[in-house]
Each structure stands twice: as C-alpha cells, then as structure tokens.
C-alpha cells in the first residue's frame, strides 16, 4: 500500500525516507553495500539509486549510527559490512514512529476523500 503511494514521485519521497529504509533493512541482519541495495529493491524500492545507497551509508556511518567491519571474501575483494549500533537502533525506532504516524495521517487523509489504496 505504501509502495503504491511512493510510486507517485518515488525519487522525491525516497530522499526523505532513505535513511529510515537503510536502517530498517539492517535491523535484523548486517550487510555490505550491494547486499543492502538488493534488500531495498526486493522490498519494493526499485528506483533507489546505487550511489544514493552508498552515500547514505557513508552519512549514517559518519553520524555514528552504523559500525563497519571487513569480512574477507573467498571470491574477490574483502567486503565492508555495516551493522546497526545502539544509536542506530534508537534512531530507527524514533524515525519509524515518525514515519508511521505520518503515513497513518496521510492514509486517513486519503481514505476520508474516498481514494482507493
């Protein structure tokens, strides 16, 4: 449902919520850049740009919400894994609540005017 809303102007909307989306896909499992990008796309954010995800990861890391570690790979270069730290989890909780209340408000607004999901 939310996905269909985003598709209206996904690129613009994404800018506001990409941080939250990245934090969310890292909630249960650490991941490296390409891995995170794939999770976002599998979740339906098909229009997310590669560079946007890497840039966001770098910014979240610089803000102290993520930690990184390097895992040697049998095939190819070593991979840099990102993981949520305590501050990242706090941020995810707070942003998640903000988004939910915002989305609920928007849903209600549209529902009231008889617009189908």
């Amino acid at each position: 449902m939310r996905t269909s809303v985003l598709s209206v102007d996904t690129t613009q909307l994404l800018k506001g919520v990409l941080d939250l989306a990245v934090l969310a896909v890292l909630k249960d499992e650490d991941g490296y850049g390409y891995d995170i990008l794939r999770r976002l796309r599998e979740a339906g954010l098909t229009e997310v740009g590669d560079a946007s995800v890497y840039g966001t990861l770098r910014r979240l890391f610089a803000a102290g919400l993520l930690t990184t570690y390097v895992v040697p790979s049998e095939s190819g270069p070593h991979r840099k894994y990102y993981s949520l730290n305590a501050a990242g989890r706090d941020q995810l909780t707070r942003s998640g609540k903000t988004w939910r209340s915002f989305a609920t408000t928007m849903d209600a607004l549209l529902d009231d005017r008889g617009m189908a999901a």
Binding site: L18, A51, V53, G55, R58, R59
Partner: protein
C-alpha cells in the same frame, strides 16, 4: 556486452575525478566500495555500466548529494590545478595498467609493491648519508662518516635503516600533512641520491689507471726482462727508445736492478733498464783479451756487424757507452 575490469577501473577513475574537489579522505571513503559494487553490478547482467548506472559524473553527483558531502573547501583558484593533477593521476593509473603486462604483472604497482622493503633499506642508507653530509658539509661518499668517524657512521647507518624500516611498515595508512611530509622527504632523498650517484661516478672515472700511456706489447715477449740495443759498431746504446709502426712506444721487460741510489728505477720506455747487465757488456780491457783476435778500435766488432755480439762475450765489441 560483458563488462571488463578495464571498464570498471575507468568508471571508478571518472567518479573519483568528479569528486576531486573533496578532501582526499572523504573521497576515499565515498569510493572505497565502488570497485566491488561495480563488479557485482557487472556480474548480475548484460550491458555497459554507463547504460545501467548513468554516467560516472551523474553517479558522483548522486553519491555526493546522498552523503551530504557538498562541495569541497578547496579555494576556487586551486580548482584548475586540482583538475590537472587529477587528470595526470588518471593517466598514471592508465600507464600503470598498460605497462604491467610488460613486467609480467597486472599493473606496474603489483610489480613494485614487493620491492618496497628494499626501498626502505636504501632510504635508510640515503638518509644516513644525507645526515652525514649535513653534519660535515663534505662531499658524499658511499658510507656515512660524520666528522670522519667511521664507527659513528656505522651507528648512524644502522639507526637510519631501522627508522626507515619502522616508518615503512607504518606509513601505509597515513593521510593529511603526514602524507605530504612523507612525499616531500622522499622527493628530497631521491634528488640527493642522484647527487651521490653523480659524485661517485665522477670519482670512479678518475682512478689511477685513467692516465696510463698507450704502449705496444706482445705476450710472446713476456719472458724478456730487458732490451739491449747495439749500434752497427757493437756499441751499447743507452736510453734507446723503441716504437712500432704507429709510433706507439714498445714496452718490454721491467726494471729489475737498482740504480746508483739503491732504488729500483721506475718503469720507463727507454732501454736498457740495467745497462750493467748487458750481455756483451763494456768492452774488455785489451790486457785480458788476446791481442791477436781483438782489434782495439771501434770499427772492429768483426765484419758481420749486426750479429757480432752473438759470438761470445770475450771478444767483446769494443764499445764505449
């Protein structure tokens, strides 16, 4: 079309060039995962990277915006310089890859990397030489000798090499001003090493053999110690000089006797070295020789003039030196 490693490297280079205005550390952080990411993208399907990801410049702009990196703080007048520098760096990386196969490696860097410890040793030695020269103001030799003290030089050498090795193992991750200082010191040492090479080469060229005279010799005459020249009358000629057809002095034998002052004379190109050892020495006094066969006058060393001295010593050619 399959994406090649070359295409990936070029894409990375162009992204980095587009981010050239950012501080190096930020740019490195932003692009460190890019090669691996591009390899993943390349592996997942067909089509050129530019078709799938957009131009490297657009990618860089998106990366910059998402990371909140903004514009670099570099002053505008340095922009052109930075761009030129970046272009040069791209060219160097290109050469690095192109010349690699010549050395049997993917890149020239791959070839040079295992040689770094050798450079660290050399760098320590050069630093010791440089310190020695700075202390003394003397011309550099091959060993550091501060104040002409060889043992202090050895200490200095060992210390400098140890510091250089330590620094070499540590310097891989340095950034910022330390990195710049490192590069400046390296450049200075390389300049200095060239000066040392020039000095040493100059001295090597001025060794004791550089002024030798050309002479004409032949191994067949190795056993000849001295040369005695007699004139037509059988008189020993002193300080005779021998030359070949080219006017080159002929050197034979060697001085083996002492002169009047008890010193073996120096090698020279006049013969004989030892006139007193002449095989047909000074003419015998008339009293000891049978007067019958020995004419006392000079023109008499028999008729067969040149071969006269070969007959025997006693009827010696009556020569007076």
């Amino acid at each position: 079309m399959t994406v090649t490693g070359q295409e990936i490297t070029d894409y990375v280079d162009r992204v980095r060039a587009a981010l050239a205005d950012l501080p190096p550390r930020v740019r490195d952080e932003l692009t460190e995962e890019l090669p691996e990411h591009l390899a993943e993208v390349a592996a997942e399907g067909e089509g050129a990277l530019v078709d799938r990801l957009g131009t490297p410049e657009a990618y860089a702009a998106e990366l910059r915006a998402a990371a909140g990196a903004g514009e670099g703080r570099r002053p505008a007048r340095f922009h052109r310089l930075a761009e030129a520098w970046e272009q040069a760096a791209v060219q160097v990386r290109l050469l690095d890859r192109q010349l690699g196969p010549v050395l049997g490696h993917v890149t020239v860097s791959d070839f040079l990397r295992p040689l770094r410890p050798a450079w660290w040793l050399l760098r320590g030695w050069l630093a010791a030489l440089l310190i020695s020269v700075l202390v003394d103001g003397d011309r550099p030799g091959l060993l550091p000798r501060p104040n002409n003290n060889a043992s202090a030089g050895l200490l200095l050498l060992v210390g400098a090499v140890a510091v250089s090795l330590w620094w070499g193992r540590r310097s891989a991750g340095i950034t910022g001003w330390q990195r710049q200082l490192h590069q400046i010191v390296t450049a200075a040492l390389l300049l200095f090493s060239f000066a040392v090479l020039a000095q040493v080469d100059e001295r090597a060229g001025s060794d004791v053999y550089s002024g030798y005279e050309q002479t004409s010799v032949d191994r067949r005459y190795d056993r000849i110690e001295d040369v005695f020249v007699y004139d037509q009358q059988g008189r020993l000629i002193r300080d005779a000089r021998l030359f070949d057809q080219n006017g080159v002095p002929i050197r034979l034998g060697w001085p083996s006797c002492m002169d009047g002052s008890g010193v073996v004379p120096e090698m020279r190109n006049t013969y004989p070295y030892c006139p007193e050892r002449a095989p047909f020495g000074p003419p015998a006094p008339p009293s000891t020789a049978p007067p019958v066969s020995t004419p006392t006058d000079s023109p008499t060393p028999t008729a067969s003039t040149p071969t006269a001295p070969t007959i025997s010593a006693s009827p010696a050619p009556t020569s007076t030196p």
